[in-house]
């Protein structure tokens, strides 16, 4: 066993740092620091994505033949850590991490040729159309229906919690194409252009004051069947494959470490001597260390070609809680000042204060929005139910 980096790894790390120092300008760093939602506005992150694309790094997790980097798991891990540290803003994970892999596995040649390059380049921005008002944790109960009509499906219904739909030009959605048999067996996976007529988007404002979520209404929207991924009524299989990626499949360590370092800096400046704040910082730090170690064990297992087991739900469960703990401690460490509130978003466009005051104004919104970490992408309760079966064999 060893937990060290090889000479190549270190060389790679230097290359990444050089790249980031060139392509993460202060403005982007500031936007990242002052973003109170989950996602930095695409009009900011697109520039970084394009730079990555030029370098051939925009889809590192894809196979080489599709424009992937062919990095070892360790290299991908290094990339994540360094991006986090540099304050680089990721662009549209829904496209690179969900749609891409799904198309490679289930897509037609034409779908691959059409969409993959546009994800790589950042031309397309994808939204996810899964949840519905009545179908959250119980996704299979979804009702949005797609009726076959010639070469089209006619889609009627409503999706909710579609992150950044108002910034996207396309959406992938689960729709009901049959009501016979098991609920899971009547679901189809559809790619839909958001500019089609009959689609309306209603914003949903989070407790943190940010507009990231939306309701998307479909009123007799004609979607070409060419947009269907996999066979009709076989969408659940596609969805399950995709959910695996959503549940912590991505490496969190980079992003969380960056937030944690920011927290440590804030505490060092604000209440350096405070004993219980220090102890809580240490608790979060040790939580991060142990979870990152579990991440690395997964990497190592992958490298060794063995299956890490039912660990993805555990990663989702704990990383989401740890991310909340970071935002919570930040609020507690700032006392009364954390109560000061500004309505306008994004903060980096409205504020003109000393940096530390600006960051203080971001803490409470971030805490409030962060309550969704343990809800979105499979609630903590659902993950726990899954783990009861898969990890504890109950």
């Amino acid at each position: 066993m060893d937990i060290g980096l090889t000479a190549q790894d270190r060389a790679f790390c230097d290359e990444v740092r050089t790249f980031l120092s060139e392509h993460v300008p202060p403005a982007m760093r500031r936007a990242n620091d002052l973003t109170t939602g989950f996602i930095v506005e695409p009009d900011v992150s697109i520039h970084f994505h394009r730079a990555l694309a030029r370098k051939g790094w925009s889809v590192p997790n894809w196979p080489v033949e599709y424009g992937g980097t062919g990095w070892t798991p360790v290299q991908r891990y290094i990339f994540e850590i360094e991006c986090g540290r540099a304050g680089a803003a990721p662009y549209n994970g829904a496209g690179t991490q969900f749609v891409g892999p799904v198309l490679m596995r289930f897509g037609t040649q034409q779908q691959k040729d059409t969409y993959l390059p546009r994800i790589r380049s950042g031309e397309d921005h994808w939204a996810q159309g899964y949840s519905e008002p009545g179908s959250g944790s119980d996704l299979a109960s979804l009702k949005t229906k797609a009726d076959s009509d010639g070469d089209d499906y006619v889609v009627n219904g409503q999706k909710i919690w579609t992150t950044m739909a108002h910034r996207s030009n396309r959406i992938f959605a689960l729709v009901r194409t049959s009501n016979v048999g098991k609920r899971q067996e009547g679901i189809t996976f559809l790619l839909i252009d958001l500019d089609l007529s009959g689609i309306t988007i209603r914003p949903i404002i989070g407790n943190g004051g940010d507009h990231e979520f939306n309701e998307v209404f479909f009123d007799n929207v004609r979607v070409p069947k060419a947009g269907r991924v996999g066979e009709e009524n076989k969408g659940w299989e596609v969805a399950k494959y995709l959910l695996e990626f959503e549940r912590g499949g991505t490496m969190m360590a980079g992003r969380v470490r960056a937030q944690f370092a920011k927290l440590a800096r804030m505490i060092a400046a604000r209440c350096p001597g405070d004993p219980d704040i220090l102890v809580r910082l240490a608790e979060v730090g040790t939580d991060i260390d142990s979870m990152e170690m579990i991440d690395l064990s997964v990497l190592s297992a992958h490298q060794a070609g063995s299956n890490p087991g039912p660990i993805s739900s555990l990663l989702k469960l704990r990383w989401s809680e740890i991310r909340q703990a970071v935002t919570e401690l930040a609020v507690d460490a700032s006392g009364e000042d954390a109560l000061r509130w500004v309505n306008e978003r994004p903060l980096y466009e409205t504020l003109q204060l000393p940096p530390e005051d600006e960051e203080t104004l971001a803490l409470m919104p971030r805490y409030l929005n962060g309550r969704a970490f343990t809800i979105m992408g499979g609630t903590t309760e659902i993950q726990t139910n899954i783990l009861a079966k898969t990890l504890v064999n109950l």
Binding site: S131, G134, G136, S137, D138, S141, I160, W161, I204, I205, G206, N207, F213, D276, V331, D332, G335, E336, A338, L339, R340, W341, V342, N343, M364, Y367, L368, N369, R371, A372, T374, I375, M376, T379, T380, E381, T384
Partner: protein, 383 residues
């Protein structure tokens, strides 16, 4: 010992809740919070008409003569219905100081204007950096200093300012001054708070005041200020209990109607146990707030133990409840589509105002760590 509400108190509670249920729903709250000033004159006048603005003041001063329990009942209703009007700064803080420190004439004048809804006041007590001082001069006093996080200041016509009136070393007497917010030398930097209220940082630069601006006499007002702030904390604690109760109730109702996997969420044992804990926290918080209210008129030491104990305990209950209430609601709970988020923000403000949960745990801890105090039952403590 008797911990039962009497008939008048039950009537007060029912009237308050009845009125607010009818006139202060979530949409009202959102409209008021979104408005320029962040308060409703119409509702403020209603509060006056209902006698709420004069509730805690002596009848002789033009008040209703209600006690700490009546104030707590009203504050709990305010918390339950997200009332953002400046009751705490105007009535509990400033009003409390005036009743305690003011001369008969000052009380008559100021209390009346408060009770009738004509005045909105604030109390600037927290010094930012150096101590605010009142230098006596020929025409009266000259105030200089900086106060931070003055709740209600942006919408107050008058702000009470605490300042050192002591002359020379060793003499640290503090006085409370009645200062019009438009006096020259005052710079007010207003801001919103997370729970939709208004507050401000205030800069005072050689603010010239007449001698009569000093509330009451030349005696040190420090002890009175501490007591009034403890009253405010007790009131705010009742407010928090109202918000906690609302979140618990909303969660129970939601899980009974929200169906997933073919049954209401309320049928899942894991969620049932969470909701039991929420209710238990509500009960504990309510009991703590009651103990604080009932100890307000006791000796300072016991008052401090009860008030800091309540702030520390209710702060922890509030954290637990707002987090679990949102979690059990799922995604919808993280948005402003429901009042849930507004309650969470109100409780987060409660936790940090007038000293954090941690601060009060420390204050309480230093009092309780004396074994003879730790051993005493609450009756003995309060009796």
């Amino acid at each position: 010992m008797n911990l039962q509400y009497d008939t008048e108190q039950i009537i007060l509670r029912d009237t308050a809740e009845g009125f607010l249920r009818e006139h202060y729903n979530y949409d009202t709250y959102r409209r008021i919070v979104a408005s320029e000033d962040g308060w409703s004159r119409e509702l403020w006048d209603e509060f006056a008409r209902l006698g709420w603005l004069g509730l805690p003041f002596a009848v002789d001063d033009g008040g209703i003569g209600g006690g700490v329990i009546e104030a707590a009942i009203l504050m709990e209703a305010f918390g339950r219905f997200l009332v953002v009007e400046p009751y705490l700064p105007t009535v509990l803080l400033a009003g409390g100081l005036i009743s305690a420190l003011g001369s008969a004439a000052e009380r008559k004048a100021l209390i009346a204007s408060v009770s009738e809804g004509r005045a909105r006041l604030a109390f600037a007590f927290a010094d930012r950096g150096t101590t605010t001082t009142a230098r006596p001069d020929t025409r009266g006093f000259s105030l200089t200093g900086a106060k931070s996080f003055v709740i209600g200041a942006p919408i107050a016509d008058t702000v009470l300012v605490s300042a050192r009136i002591g002359t020379g070393a060793g003499d640290n007497r503090v006085g409370v001054f009645v200062v019009p917010t438009n006096a020259t030398g005052i710079a007010t930097r207003p801001f919103r708070t997370v729970d939709g209220r208004r507050a401000a940082d205030i800069e005072l630069t050689s603010v010239a005041l007449p001698a009569r601006a000093l509330l009451g006499g030349n005696e040190d007002a420090s002890a009175t200020i501490d007591r009034v702030i403890d009253h405010a904390i007790a009131g705010l604690s009742a407010d928090a209990v109202g918000a906690i109760g609302a979140m618990v109730g909303a969660t129970v109702e939601y899980t009974k109607t929200r169906v997933q996997f073919g049954q209401p969420l309320a049928k899942f044992q894991a969620l049932q146990h969470r909701m039991v804990r929420m209710r238990v926290n509500e009960e504990e918080a309510r009991a703590s707030a009651l103990f604080a209210a009932l100890s307000l008129e006791g000796p300072a030491g016991r008052r401090g133990r009860a008030v800091s104990g309540a702030k520390a305990k209710i702060g922890r209950c509030a954290r637990f409840v707002h987090q679990d209430a949102i979690q059990l609601h799922g995604a919808i709970g993280t948005t402003n589509e429901l009042p849930l988020g507004a309650y969470a923000k109100r409780l987060l403000a409660y936790e940090a105002l007038f000293g954090s949960t941690r601060d009060h745990l420390r204050r309480y801890g230093s009092l309780i760590s004396k074994p003879e105090i730790a051993a005493e039952g609450l009756l003995a403590v309060a009796g």
